[in-house]
Amino acid sequence: MKQNGKGRTLFEKVWNAHIVREQSDDAPAVLYIDLHLVHEVTSPQAFSMIRERGLKVRRPDQTIGTMDHSTPTTPRNELGIIPVADAMAAKQLDAFSKNCDDFGIPMYALGDEHQGIVHVIGPEKGLTQPGMTIVCGDSHTSTHGAFGALAFGIGTSEVGHVLATQTLLQNRPHTMAVNVEGRLGDGVTAKDIILAVIARIGIGGGTGHVFEYRGEAIRSLSMEGRMTVCNMSIEGGARAGMVAPDDTTFEYIQGRQHAPQGAEWDAAVARWRELPTDDGAAFDQEITLRADELIPMITYGTNPGMGMPIDAAVPAPEDERDINKKIALEKALTYMDLAPGQQLLGKAIDVVFIGSCTNSRISDLRQAAQFMQGRKVADSVRMMVVPGSQQVKKQAESEGLHEIFRAAGAEWREAGCSMCIAMNGDQLEPGQYAVSTSNRNFEGRQGKGGRTFLASPLTAAASAVAGSVTDPRSLLTGLN
């Protein structure tokens, strides 16, 4: 690891503070985990593993569960219950309840007022704090890095390791500074920053690295914007992305349920102020983007690295010199039924999905609702708005956002992952095109044969109104 001896990065500080056993030639480091988030899909086999060995969950008081991936987002029945029609999903949710019960893990069940997407509820409840190590059996755990935590996704075997020991074997990753300088223009958002970063480095570009997002554009983002950016670090191949904590971070955390209080709060803030990367600390790699040169981004292909400015033309495979990349692009365009050189602007769409751990927080919904106010979803489009958590839903309803969406002709749903992963029946039909605020446009991700254009909530809302891929800046009049 490159170091000039002059200082340490945010990542190094958090990493070093959690070492139970140093990395050696014989074994990876053993890291202590402060917070473990669990959900129904990637945990059952891990619970079975510890059960078979007669083990306990070491720290149920540092573990929290929520139901999100396979849960329906359809309306509650007259008893206030969200019915689960899919028998396999019901069985998985029951198993999860039982596992959390048996091992004493606090858990938010479907329909609970605090239930929601795991990466939305951690920050919302003040559980996500600077300087912590946070893991979850879910690759978008990188979201929590927005607070200056080291947070990353793990597999089910590792979920079992953390349940049983509160530790994890990890080889120390490399670091990459992702500098985003300058200011974003109107209609350009955090989502566009991260789509531009991934388009630049490719989906494998960050493999083996932890990103630290830096620069004026990152500093001026809200916490929710920073979460959107960190969320998609994994789409750039990095397991984690981090932002140095600052006053924006502290303001967001203060007063939340699990935030430190009183004298403890002051002590915590003093500790957190020590976390940012020291001047002169070295990163293994560095890239720089200009925020003021960015315009809204959209993906055209079948991985998140296949993205471009919304007014650009779909690239041509014959221009690609690398044979593997050429084949990949041809395959993607065939799946998407797009032609090289084609513009996406004006391309008719069938579905708009606003939701997912990338863009389902209150500020995302406010932004989309503000845009939809007084406008209508095009007749040919189905628009779904799925809040990230029950708390986000409640907040949105208290502000009347649901009325705006409904008046515009959009569906207002219960909280969950929904059409981001299409496990719960919310899915595209074969051949349909969607503009989606989620994070993955892989083949079939949003339903077998479905085709996804990833974009920001603003671009999604503008496209819903127009019935086709639309640059939100062209409709921005009236927005403040």
Binding site: D26, T42, D138, S139, S157, T165, T207, A328
Partner: protein, 203 residues
């Protein structure tokens, strides 16, 4: 986990870059609570026709000459996407013992090693050579020696691949890592007493 030291078998090529975990096993198969029976779901949307059940004769894994392949040679950056360990479970269930690519997504690689599925990293030239070999002669077999960290091609050329020492030890001895961590209980206790608990989820 059973120990893995030598693998010998034929290979099948899917020369596609960035094969993501949604292709390896689509999310609709993740509603299970165990690891069994996932082999049928491996590459499901490529492997079966519209009805989800009739094998697609065009897809290479359905060609009889590749039915016994135990190695998969893939395009660059294999296994990107989600953290689902169902991906290596499905590949193992479908009969694979090793996947060969120029690089792997981190989580997929970790997950595979924990289940005894070998992620073998080779250079692009070897990758192209393996693509051709697999296509020209489906019975071509290659062998892998975990101890020596080598992949031996039919022409006798041995290519070495990286493998971290700990993962190698676990593979060779069939050791699973939980046992190692459980033995560190004293160190974990020492850490916990020296560092205040950050959050209490049950509060």
């Amino acid at each position: 986990m059973e120990n893995v030291s030598q693998i010998r078998g034929s290979i099948v090529a899917i020369p596609v870059n960035d094969i993501d975990t949604d292709q390896i096993i689509p999310a609709r198969f993740l509603k299970v609570t165990d690891k069994e029976g996932l082999g049928k779901a491996a590459f499901c949307d490529w492997r079966y026709l519209e009805d989800g059940d009739t094998p697609n004769p065009e897809f290479v894994l359905n060609r009889p000459e590749y039915s016994s392949a135990s190695g998969l040679i893939a395009g660059n950056n294999f296994g990107c996407g989600s953290s689902r360990e169902h991906a290596p479970w499905a590949l193992l269930g479908a009969g694979f013992k090793a996947v060969i690519s120029t690089d792997f997504a981190d989580i997929f690689r970790n997950n595979s090693l924990k289940n005894g599925l070998l992620p073998i990293i080779v250079d692009e030239e070897t990758q192209q050579q393996l693509f051709s070999l697999a296509e020209e002669d489906p019975s071509t077999s290659v062998s892998v020696d975990v101890e020596a960290q080598t992949l031996t091609l039919p022409d006798g050329r041995a290519v070495s691949f990286p493998l971290d020492g700990f993962a190698k030890y676990c593979l060779l001895n069939g050791v699973d890592q939980l046992g190692y961590l459980l033995a560190l209980d004293d160190d974990v206790r020492a850490y916990e007493s020296a560092n205040p608990q950050r959050v209490v989820t049950s509060a």
